[in-house]
Every structure is written in C-alpha cells, then in structure tokens.
C-alpha cells in the first residue's frame, strides 16, 4: 500500500520533473533567442481581455474563429452562450440573442468596423447578403443584453461587432480557396501593401457559391446563394498615436429559395423567389488627442439595394457621422461622451399588389448623444458605471436609454457584476408603412361567404413608438489560470412590442379586385401597433478549461423562457405564441480543441438545440469535426465535416417570408490558405 502511494508521488516527479515551475527563476535567465523559440504550454484565452467589463461579453479571437471552422459570421457565433444560431437555408440564418430568433431578429444590432448592417426596412440583418473575408477579421465581440447606452437604438438584446484587422497588420498576399463535397467553391484573395510613412493598404476580393439545402426526402435544389465582395482598407502608419482609417467595399449576392404560398382557395404551392442584394459603402475614421483625452470621429455612407424577384425592391441610403471623446480621468471619474447623427433615405417599390407601401419614400433622421461615467468607488475592487444615450428618431420619438452597472472584483480571480439598463427598438419601415395581403381564413360552414382574405396594415391611430426593454442582469466571472468560467442571469421586461390585432371594424369589401382568386372576398384587416408586452428570463453559462497543454475543453449552455402577454384577440395570441416559440428554451455546446503537435489541430464540436415551436422544428444534436495542418510557414490545410452523424436535419423555418422548410445535409469541405 505504502509503495503504491510512494509511486504515485514519485511518478509525476520523474515524468514532469523537468518541466519548469511557474516561478522558476531560470526562465528569466533565458536569452531572447531562447525565449523566441520556447513553446508555450498553455495559451490564455484572449477573450479575457474584456474581463474588466461589467457586461456579458464574449470576444471571439481570430484563432477562435479559425478553429470553429466557420465560413460565415453566423457559424462562428454558434458556441457563444446566449446566442442561438440556426440555419434556415443556404446562406440564410436566424441569429437570436436571448431568444427572439427569426430571419430578421429585430432586437440585435450588428456592425462591421463601426458601420451598422442592420436594415431599417425590416429591422434585422440580411445574413444572406453579408460576405466577410474571415481570415482578415481580428475579432468578433458579442455583447449580450442592452448595449444601447453606448451603441444606440436596436441594441435591445445584444450587439455584435465584427472588427477587421488594420491594413498595417495584413501586409502580404493571402489566398484562401475551399471546395465542398457538392463541388461548391469559393476563393478569396487579399494583397496588402506597405506604403511606408503613409501607412498600409490592402485590397481584397472574394467570390463563390455556398452549398444548397435539401428537401425532407433528401433531394437537392430548393435554394442557392452565390456572389462576390471586393474592397479595400487603408490605415495610417503605426508610429504615431493619431490614427486614421479609410475603407470601403462593394458586394453583390443572389439568393434563391422557395416560398410557400396559400391561395385564397386554400391551395398550397411552392413559388421560387430570387433575391438580389447589392451594396456599396465607404467609411473614414480619425483618432486624435483632444484636451488631454482621446477623440475619434467616424463618417460613412452606405447604399443597399434589395430586389425581391419581380415583386419589388428596396433601397436604403445611409449617411452617418459619429463623434466620441474619452476624457482624461478626473479623480475617480472616467468620462466618455459622444454625439451622432444619421440620415436614412429609404424607398420601397412594390411591384406586386400583395404589398403596398405608404409613403413609398422616407427620409428619416436620428440624432443622439451619450455620456458614460466609470466611477472607481474603491480602487481595484468596486466600480460603478452610469451612462445613458438620449436619442431622437423621426421614426419614433425621443428615447432616453439609461444604464447603471456595478462591479465587484474582490480578488484577481473573481468578479461579480449587476446591471440595469433600458433600450429601445425603432419601428421598421415595413412595420410603419406597409400593407401586406398575406393569407386567407376559411369561415365556419354555413357562413354566407366561405372565407376572408387577411391583410396587415398599421393601425389608423398608431403613434409609432419604439419598443422598449428593461433588463436586469447579474453576472459572475472566474479566472481559472488559463481558463475561465462565466455565468449570467438575466430578466427582461419588454413593453410596447409591435404586434397585430384584429381590426374591430370588421370585414371590408375591396374597392378593387384582389390580386388572387377568387378576387372578391372581403378583407379582414389586422392592425399593427405597440400592443404587446413580454417577459423573458434565463441563465447563460460558459466554461473554458485547459485540461492538458494539448487539450482544451469549452462548453456553453443557455436555459431561458419567454412569455408574451395574451389577450382576448385570437390573432394577437397566435403572434404571441409564435414569438414565444421562435427560439428553443435551451441549447448548449461542447468543444474539444486538441493540438497534436507538428502544426496539427483537431477540433470536435457538439451542440444540442432544444425544440423550436415555430415551424415545428424538433430538437437535434449536431457534431462538427475539423482537422487543420500547418504544412509550412506559407500554407495551411483544413478539412471540415459538418453534421457528422446526421444525414439531414431541420434547424429553422423562416417566419418572415414563409419559406419552404429545408434540411441541412452532412457536408464536408477542404480549404487551403496560402500566405506569402
């Protein structure tokens, strides 16, 4: 017995005795040449950079994005706690934060290098039109909870900031090519040039086609997504503290899918619909010293076009100017303030009688001011952050969006924070101005008419207020040496949610024939307004553990529930149920990241997603596998297999355009990345 114990004690000394101890002074005696060649046994996760922030923040580093095997932004977000990512179809995604999934998750703000890609037409992001060269993304910041005090309206449940690398960090050539088992290929090329004292420039272009989804029977062809993006970024020389950036890009993407249509006579048909998206943007930013502090000014123009087959098109022109100033700390106060203005010109041309917009053209203006004070109550231990954004939008009204956050860091390992914040979501142009004929409702047998047509329009007396949320959060973070643990509890109270109700004035006979047979049925209008309210609460957990120097385990889990207020109105109740069930009540993921040595990596990620009621999506488990090999300094090879143990599964059914449900097949792709 004793000898066994002795062995247990001695064995580690024999096997691991040569490893340098944490505070071994000999490490500090190594020369620079030796240090440069020394392998790190466990790399800390850069996500901890924002551990000082009293908010639920996850930062995906370039390495995290690479190891996730993602080819698009939504895929990279799959393992972030609180974020539910479901694939609707080829290039089409539902990305919800704390519930509220959907093709246009209207409570989530998404920005690329400070430029909003949130569309004011439908309040949401056209993920199928978004094309980013992921190899040049430096990080993706995901802030859950209201981020309105700093980022402004529509940051109701979260903000996603995609930050690309500075041009000074991307000097050289990069070629990335991938091809999947269906033969769909994409190619990205970037050339970075050092301009000496003027800074650096990179130009890039990317084009390709994504794999399609399957029908329930496994057949192909229900959807597609292809297109290209090209652009540039210039950054000032890295010598000074004043910095400037100029960047721009153009892209075009076409995406096709089948829409399920219900004729008024109750027949269902699949109607192919092709979307064409085009966008161009130009952004400039300058940082300089001002009054001992630091100021930045950013301006951009952006044009987005969306063509929906022959049925209509939308145009959005945006001009945005933003100023921020971080003052030099004054006593215990660290103050930041800013001003912003945005002009948005929108035009929707409805070529189909199913949709009409009034007015078709709108010029909206948003003016905002924010201030934030970070107060150190006890140095290193207690910090209080008070802030607010005061925003006026011509689409709603004046919206104050305050926040208060308290953080306690009793030691180097633990931090505990609590917050209360309020945020607003401006009505979209669609919600505010559109009349949509969207279906029919059969009447009980014996009625004088067999059915009525259903159409949604803004309520006659609707004052078009913004939706409002009040959120309370409690968070805990623990630093586990090279790993971390995070838990966040949240409770959100939504008021003035925009929803539909049956028009009490009853049936209306159309003055002109309806565009669908039998042409003359009466119309029951549903009127939109700030008529609903909801509550949601839940918990988000994230763990990152280095088990050995070559193996890291990462896990995340979210459990939540949303309850939308019920009323006596059947239509309102149906919408309420759909909203409650637009996201699963729980989902989680587990990732094993292994380093095999000699530049080889293996990643295995499994995720479990609960049932999604809207669209009757059953719970599923998916396992993804990635193998990476750094063949040489200049060449990386990746092999990725998605949905390893699953021939087909359904992840989401589009609720905005009623798309035909499509299934995600087992897919594999091979990718090569050359850098020289």
């Amino acid at each position: 017995m004793t000898s066994r114990f002795a062995l247990l004690l001695v064995a580690p000394a024999l096997c691991w005795g040569t490893a340098a101890h944490a505070d071994d002074p000999s490490l500090a005696d190594l020369s620079l040449e030796e240090l440069v060649r020394l392998d790190v046994s466990a790399v800390s996760r850069k996500a901890q950079k924002l551990s000082d922030t009293p908010a639920a923040v996850t930062v995906l580093s370039a390495a995290d994005i690479r190891r996730s095997g993602a080819r698009s932004v939504p895929e990279a977000l799959r393992e972030v706690p609180g974020v539910i990512v479901s694939q609707i179809g080829s290039g089409r995604w539902s990305v919800g934060v704390r519930g509220w999934g959907g093709r246009f998750s209207n409570k989530l703000l998404v920005q690329i290098d400070g430029r909003s890609v949130y569309s004011p037409l439908f309040s949401g992001v056209f993920w199928e039109a978004l094309d980013v060269v992921l190899a040049d993304v430096e990080r993706i910041e995901v802030i859950r909870g209201p981020g309105a005090s700093l980022w402004g309206a529509n940051a109701v449940n979260g903000v996603i900031n995609i930050v690309t690398r500075k041009a000074t960090a991307t000097v050289g050539t990069l070629v990335s090519a991938d091809v999947d088992n269906g033969g769909h290929a994409s190619l990205a090329v970037r050339q970075g040039v050092d301009l000496g004292d003027a800074g650096a420039l990179r130009v890039f272009a990317k084009g390709g086609e994504l794999g399609g989804s399957r029908t329930r029977e496994g057949g192909g062809g229900p959807d597609y997504n292809r297109g290209w993006v090209a652009g540039f970024r210039m950054d000032g020389a890295g010598s000074g503290v004043d910095a400037w950036t100029l960047q721009g890009s153009s892209n075009r993407r076409t995406s096709g899918e089948n829409i399920t249509t219900n004729s008024l006579t109750g027949e269902q048909a699949a109607l192919p619909l092709d979307f064409v998206f085009e966008s161009t943007n130009l952004l400039g930013r300058y940082n300089w010293g001002l009054a001992g502090g630091e100021a930045s000014v950013q301006a951009y123009v952006d044009q987005q076009l969306a063509n929906v087959g022959t049925y209509g098109k939308g145009t959005v022109n945006t001009a945005d100017l933003d100023f921020q100033h971080r003052l030099v700390p004054y006593g215990v106060h660290e103050i930041m303030w800013g001003l912003g203005g945005r002009l948005v010109q929108t035009e929707i041309v409805a070529a189909s009688p199913v949709l009409s917009i009034s007015p078709p053209r709108r010029n909206s203006r948003v003016f905002s001011a924010f201030v934030q004070d970070e107060i150190t109550l006890v140095p290193q231990t207690w910090k209080l952050t008070l802030g607010g954004r005061f925003e006026y939008s011509s689409l709603s009204r004046f919206e104050p969006q305050p926040t208060a956050r308290l953080m306690w860091t009793p030691n180097m390992e633990d931090s505990l924070w609590a917050s209360w914040s309020r945020a607003a979501r401006t009505p979209s142009i669609g919600e505010s101005d559109a009349t949509i004929l969207f279906g029919s409702q059969p009447l009980p047998p014996g009625s004088p008419i067999p059915m009525v047509a259903l159409a949604s329009r803004p309520g006659a007396s609707w004052s078009r207020r913004a939706e409002r949320v009040d959120t309370v959060e409690l968070g805990y973070r623990r630093n586990l040496g090279n790993g971390s643990l995070e838990a966040v509890l949240f409770h959100s109270d939504y008021h003035r949610l925009i929803s539909e109700q049956t028009d009490p004035n009853g049936l209306v006979f159309p003055t002109s024939p309806l565009p669908v047979e039998p042409f003359t049925v009466p119309i029951q209008y549903l009127q939109r307004g700030n008529q609903s309210a909801a509550r949601s609460y839940g918990v988000e957990l994230g763990v990152d553990l280095p088990v050995t120097s070559a193996l890291r385990l990462q896990a995340s889990y979210t459990l939540m529930d949303t309850r939308v207020r019920r009323s006596a109105d059947a239509v309102a109740n149906a919408t309420a149920r759909e909203r409650e069930e637009s996201a699963p009540q729980h989902w989680g993921s587990l990732r094993m990241a292994m380093n095999l040595g000699r530049g080889q990596e293996i990643d295995v990620a499994a995720r479990r997603v609960g049932t999604i009621g809207t669209g009757d999506v059953p719970a599923y488990t998916a396992v993804d596998f990635r193998y990476a090999w750094r063949v040489s300094r200049y060449f990386d090879l990746y092999f990725v297999a998605l949905n390893l143990f699953d021939p087909l599964h359904l992840e989401y059914v589009s609720n905005f355009f009623p798309g035909q449900p499509v299934y995600q097949p087992r897919t594999a792709f091979l990718q090569g990345v050359w850098r020289f």
Partner: protein, 183 residues
Amino acid sequence: MIRHLCRHVLALIIGLAGSSLMAAPQPGEYQIKAAYLINFARYMEWPAGRLPAGAVLRLCLLGRDPFGGSLLALEGRPVQGREVRFRQVDSLDQALECHIVFVSGSEERRLGLILRGLSGRGVLSVSDIEGFAEAGGGIGMVTEDDRVRFDINQAALTRDGLRASSQLLRLGRQVFGTERGPR
C-alpha cells in the same frame, strides 16, 4: 509489476486531468512574458537623465494582473548592474514614474488614452493587447503558433528617447516605423 505500474500511470493521468481543473496551471504564456520583460530591460537604453547609472529600474504593471506572481518574482533581480523594482500601479500619473510599463489587457478600452499619456516621457510601454505596437505602443507581445513573439514600434521608441539594441530589433517579428517595415 509492469501491470501495476500501468495502473498507477493510468490513475495518475486521470488524477492529473482532474487536478488540473483546480490546481495552478503549468508554466505558460505569462511566465514567458515575464521573462521577456527582463530581456527588454537588458536590450534597451534609456536617456541618462531618465535612468541614471546605478539607479533602480522600475517595472510596473498597469491594470489587472494576469501574471499570477511571476512579475513579483522579478523583484530585486539584477539587470545591467541595476536592481529591478516591481510595482502595480492604478493610474497614468503613477505609471509615468516607471521605466517599463506593462499595460494589462484589462486596460484595452482606454488604450489610446494611456498611449497618449505615456508618449514622449521616456517610458517603455509593453503589452499583449492585440495590435499594441501598431497602435503606437513600444513593444507588443504576440502569441503565434504557441510561441510568444514581439513586435517593435521603432518610431514610438525614438519618440520616447529609447534605444533598442540591434539584437532586439533583429528578433522582433515585425518592426514598425523603420525602413525595414513589417514583414
């Protein structure tokens, strides 16, 4: 006996995997980064007025400590005939009294402000915040392919009156602000 040994080794592996959940991590990134800081002190020259011969070399940490004691372990070490003194500082004013300031990742949000404050004051700023050297910091540490490397901003050092030895410049991954340019 061999079978017994195998069983022990197995128990050991399981034990290690379990204990690593709680125990201190293996020597890693920040131990190496601490060793780098000492080396930067060896290969850097401060203006005589800023650091007279024989004076102590003040090494400071601004922000939360990711080093877990490895910086404190450098206290009292001799470097080029000077003694290293370590101190954790809370404000920019305190940081200006130091010769080397390591800016912790916790300060990322106020990085611009910190760099402006330290600029031209004879302080070597070092950090592992991404893009630190490019942003105008002195030396930025970068973990790449499981190795810790560093980028140097030569123009920033010159502005601060510091002189890096040719050996330091040669081993840097990228050197900004010289004719050599980033690689």
